[in-house]
Symmetry: C2
């Protein structure tokens, strides 16, 4: 008598980022650069707690509508319109979700059949790949490392087949901090505009950009409007990872199916977290602060570490540094493990973001400056010991 | 150029319960008996707010471990051991989830292949059926209405085939309030014990039972331990629907895959809601209060409505009354719609819980007593007008 589980589920592996975090937690005095988790989450709570408390005393604390509380949907609609020129109807084109992870899963569940292909720019956030695989889809990687971190038309066009169901863009990108330029978006647009391909734009780091750069979005193309899903949320730009609040914008025709999938996953997003997000939107200074803190961190960490490594990607946004450590003759996993063991600094090897070891590691610098400085010093000392 | 979505997703329908709730909200002075949502959710917040606030000021408000914060897993482990004799390891056999909806979806995603069959006792909670369908599985219904609301060995055994992957038991049951008896559990056990069939036991209403009845669980059978998933949560017994906190217990061998699916769905449950749940566990009087309030409601509503209808199921637990209204010559949908239009009382027709109209409607009586009394009076007046 053998109990068999789903063949795709059985192949899933836990997130290596999370595994590294668990390892890190076993060390005393560890400096933890693993998770993409803004360090000032308590500050957000301190700012919003009074308003949140009042909202909770005045409101129903039961299940929200499966699309989310209408006040938050309206506020997000206004926010996206005002900040990004994205026009979405709060009644039929916005769903409040459990972070951005949930709409990644819900959108893939909604659109994918077995063997459908999804083009993803590698390196990328782990859950894109695993979600595609979980639903029996096939990830087709555009290798950014081999293409000088650039989107090239001749390379991308060769990846598109009759099986291509979707393309996913994450800009600013986790783990590289890269922003897809206007020209690169144009390349993507040209490659897909005449083909029945969905577009998923994960814009979770959109507000964390440096040197006053503008972050453009595929939402600027009207011809993509009826097949574009935009993902965003409060985890990064408001330091609200633990509240698990995100949202998906998309065309009514498909959003209603995503909403039913979402209902089947979680019924609705946390009502309490929705009120917290609504309150957070009254405090744009939270986002501004985050952007400024991490721009300072970026400048420091990039400058300090660049001289020691084969290549360091200059981050244009987000809060990660992607570092090619292969000049030390170790795999990225060995480098990360040795660094953790000998200096108690935790970073994430490239296997969390790429199918094979590219030699890169990710350092998440969304911490306070003093911690970053101490960690950088330890890394420099580690390197000198090699 | 046609954009095609997943064929199972495309067939999903939104929950009829939720649709009725949305309709109800359009009326003034409506008495709403649609959702299974304890009315005292603000009371829970008032009780836990101080402790929750302290926990939030002291703790990390970032992502929790994908299994949930260890303090809550340990507390749940103790709780289940103490209250139900269920022994589960907090480190490897308990996952904190986004309500109970999420583990329903995660467990089905983990175990189901296309065309696998799942036996469900009808009437049942909507999301069981839709989740099975969403993953390409087939729902095989045991029709309780046609079997005097009893589990019979000769009927159940005929439903089991080589394709049967799982059987789901929800006791106390939504929407009938039925508790599966020791004898019925024995029937289920005998039918499946020698076959490779998973067991899903949704025990979300376990603490809301009447006349000091004992609610037994399939967890009492050691031979099922390695293929049993127990679902439970805080929504009903602590009136915390809006916080979206539940959990799944199961054997380590399969729970680790459920945990990766869960990670792919939502990364982790809301950390804030997890602290709220941890605080709620310090207040067992919340549950006791809910049980007592709704036992009083049950006695009243059953007694008041029984004389008017062909059949009313006497609830042994949960907080729903399942009423056969077919003696008025209307479908249950017509009955519900007419009642809403003429008396502004909202209930849910049987199509939300069964594949065809059985003539039943569900009345959710987890409201305050005065509201229940007013609603019952309107229903009685409605009947007299027919």
């Amino acid at each position: 008598m053998e109990l068999k589980i789903n063949r795709y589920a059985s192949m899933l592996k836990p997130s290596l980022i999370r595994e590294m975090k668990v390892l890190a937690d076993k060390y005393n005095d560890v400096i933890d650069f693993t998770l993409g988790e803004p360090h000032i989450s308590r500050h957000t709570y301190e700012v919003i707690q009074e308003g949140l408390h009042h909202k909770m005393m005045e409101s129903s604390l039961g299940y929200s509508h499966q699309y989310g509380i209408i006040e938050l949907r309206m506020a997000i609609s206004e926010y996206c319109k005002h900040n990004y020129g994205q026009i979405y109807d709060p009644y039929s084109e916005i769903i409040i979700t459990t972070g951005v992870s949930e709409p990644i899963s819900a959108v893939f569940k909604t659109i994918l059949e077995e063997d459908d292909e999804v083009i993803i720019f590698s390196p990328s956030f782990t859950l894109y790949n695993t979600n595609v695989q979980m639903y029996g889809g096939k990830v087709v990687l555009y290798d950014m490392v081999e293409n000088d971190m650039q989107v090239k038309e001749e390379v991308l066009s060769r990846l598109i087949t009759a099986k291509t169901k979707a393309i996913l863009v994450n800009s600013p990108c986790n783990p590289t901090g890269k922003i897809f330029s206007e020209e690169e978006n144009e390349v993507i647009y040209n490659c897909i505009k005449d083909k029945p391909i969905f577009v998923i734009s994960d814009e979770i780091y959109r507000e964390i950009v440096f040197e006053q750069k503008k972050c453009c979005s595929l939402s600027k193309y009207p011809r993509l409007r009826d097949r574009l899903f935009i993902l965003n949320g409060f985890s990064k730009s408001y330091a609200m990872t633990g509240w698990r609040i995100g949202y998906v914008l998309g065309p009514k025709e498909f959003i209603n199916t995503v909403a039913v999938v979402h209902q089947n996953f979680v019924a609705s997003a946390s009502t309490i977290s929705q009120y917290a997000a609504l309150e957070a939107l009254n405090h744009p200074e939270l986002t501004k602060n985050i952007q400024q803190l991490y721009e300072k961190n970026r400048n420091y960490v990039y400058q300090q570490l660049k001289p020691y490594f084969k290549h360091v990607v200059l981050p244009e946004g987000a809060f990660y540094l992607y570092i090619d450590v292969s000049n030390y003759g170790l795999t990225s996993y060995e480098f990360a493990m040795n660094l953790l063991k000998s200096k108690q600094v935790a970073i994430v090897p490239s296997m969390a973001f790429e199918p094979n070891d590219s030699g890169y590691v990710r350092l998440s610098y969304c911490c306070d400056f003093e911690t970053l400085r101490a960690g950088v010093l330890r890394i420099q000392n580690f390197i000198k010991s090699l």
